[in-house]
Amino acid sequence: MCSITKEAVFDAISTVIDPEVGFNLVEMGLIYDAIIDEACNVHVVMTLSTQGCPLHQMITTWVKEAVERIEDVGDVEVEVVWEPAWNISMADENVKKALGGM
């Protein structure tokens, strides 16, 4: 039985910051899900704020590396999806307030 929780995975990913907007990916609402199996392999489902993002691969690598730093984690996979498309309503209140979007 794996002891790694979804919260622990989200906490790890929250160390990854988008250098353009200055917020971490979790508070931006870009991380949709983290599926953890019994062998502690983690499958992260995330999106990006724009499909043409030139940091696409780097961000997914940073997410992978952040999750791999969790103790006893198995294989880590990061999947980028475009459905549902990200919008500002998915972000935390502090992000909405800071960006002035709401």
Binding site: G22, G52, C53
Partner: protein, 411 residues
């Protein structure tokens, strides 16, 4: 999962000369403005020299550098041969310098400068077309890249013919060829490319999502068609055909502005940074330029046309470019020098990589200069025009300094 564009990002050392020298050419163009008078004719060699200093040295140089970075982002495919940009840069640099020198002092060397620019642009266009063939994605933006490159080739061929005509090596109607050349390069390449890139970059930086794209699709089609009609009209000396082309293009620009309005309404980021302020000024001057253009067709006064072109070049095109430089250059520097350090040590945010004060000074001096200089042209007032040129030159100094600092950040 979609293809990953950052795999194909060219190195900073390949792109940075385009930005460094592009901004240096901008500084020189603004300095040169101090020596011009507000009333002139387009056929004057010194005016043609300034136009080429500005359009080739600044606008094309920056667009080429930006395209080296952005083509993979748009096409989601790597460059066919990215190293050609190492060849394109010196050819464009030397060719532009020779052409400007030729226009101002020695017409005999124009064809040599023109030939170097021609080679640089052919390499650029062929590489772009080869890269386009690598991708299976077909969007209207990608089709637009293909069309704009086609117009670029037509524009440089007509430009080279003009250079041969001016130096007495080719018997052509320079005046007609000039109209075809200006329209193919300015409308067919520069404006079409800026429209295409802004549709990618403006939503990206403003975090606008889920907008309807009907207007921009119409804009692309109308501008592509309109430029073709004007080019044909100029080439075959059919004035009526050119007027139809102008009207079609005007409709295209209207749909483009309408699309930008739709995107602006959905913008999430409301902060008024240098990029946002530059975009507002750019579109404000574009609208003003169109109004002056329409007024010219009604009253036929040359000074109104000069002011319209001024606001298009120094208002819209310049502000679109300088505003985006404060986004693109920090990103490129960050990507090269700081991205590998993420997770290992504290890295700067992109907005921390340039001086806000310097950018702000650039903005206010430049916008004041554009307005004053434009009014100087409109009313053919030397004091207003010279005042505007002085403000623009001061703004260009701030742009140059902030650019140097951005490029050397973290070195």
């Amino acid at each position: 999962m979609k293809a990953i564009s950052s795999d194909f990002a060219p190195p900073l050392k390949l792109i940075s000369p385009f930005f460094s020298y592009g901004v240096a050419f901008y500084l020189l163009s603004m300095l040169a403005l101090l020596f011009f008078k507000p009333s002139f004719a387009y056929a004057q060699m010194d005016v043609a020299g300034w136009i080429h200093l500005f359009l080739l040295g600044f606008v094309m140089m920056i667009i080429f550098g930006a395209m080296a970075q952005l083509i993979p982002v748009v096409l989601e495919a790597g460059h066919a041969v990215v190293d050609v940009y190492y060849v394109i840069f010196p050819l464009l640099l030397i060719g532009t310098s020779l052409m400007v020198f030729g226009f101002w002092l020695m017409p005999g060397i124009l064809p040599y400068g023109g030939l170097l620019v021609l080679i640089a642009m052919i390499i650029f266009a062929v590489e772009n077309i080869a890269t386009l063939k690598k991708t299976s994605i077909r969007t209207l933006t990608i089709d637009t890249v293909a069309w704009s490159n086609g117009y670029l080739l037509l524009g440089i061929l007509t430009g080279f013919a003009i250079a041969l005509g001016l130096s007495g090596n080719l018997g052509i109607n320079v005046s007609l060829m000039l109209k075809a050349h200006v329209y193919a390069v300015l409308g067919g390449y520069v404006v079409l490319t800026i429209i295409g890139l802004s549709l990618i970059l403006i939503p990206m930086f403003s975090l606008a999502h889920g907008f309807e794209e009907t207007a921009i699709n119409r804009a692309f089609k109308l501008v592509i068609t309109g430029v073709g009609i004007v080019f044909a009209g100029a080439l075959f000396a059919q004035e009526w055909l050119m007027f139809i082309g102008y009207a079609v293009n005007m409709a295209g620009i209207f749909f483009y502005i309408w699309q930008i309005y739709i995107i602006a309404k959905l913008t999430v980021r409301k902060e008024m940074d240098i990029w946002a302020k530059s975009m507002i000024f750019a579109f404000g001057t574009l609208i003003f330029s169109i109004m002056l253009g329409l007024l010219y067709f009604i009253i036929g006064k040359e000074s109104v046309l000069h002011a319209s072109v001024w606001f298009l070049l120094l208002g819209f095109i310049s502000s679109m470019i300088t505003g985006h430089l404060y986004k693109i250059v920090p990103f490129l520097v960050w990507f090269e020098r700081f991205a590998p350090l993420v997770g290992k040590e504290k890295v700067p945010m992109l907005h921390e990589m340039y001086s806000k004060e310097g950018a702000s000074m650039m903005y206010w001096f430049t916008t004041t200069g554009v307005v004053l200089g434009g009014l100087g042209l409109l009313f053919e007032n030397d004091i207003l025009f010279k005042g505007g040129a002085s403000f623009l030159f001061t703004g260009a100094i701030f742009l140059f300094i902030t650019m140097r600092k951005m490029l050397s950040y973290g070195k």
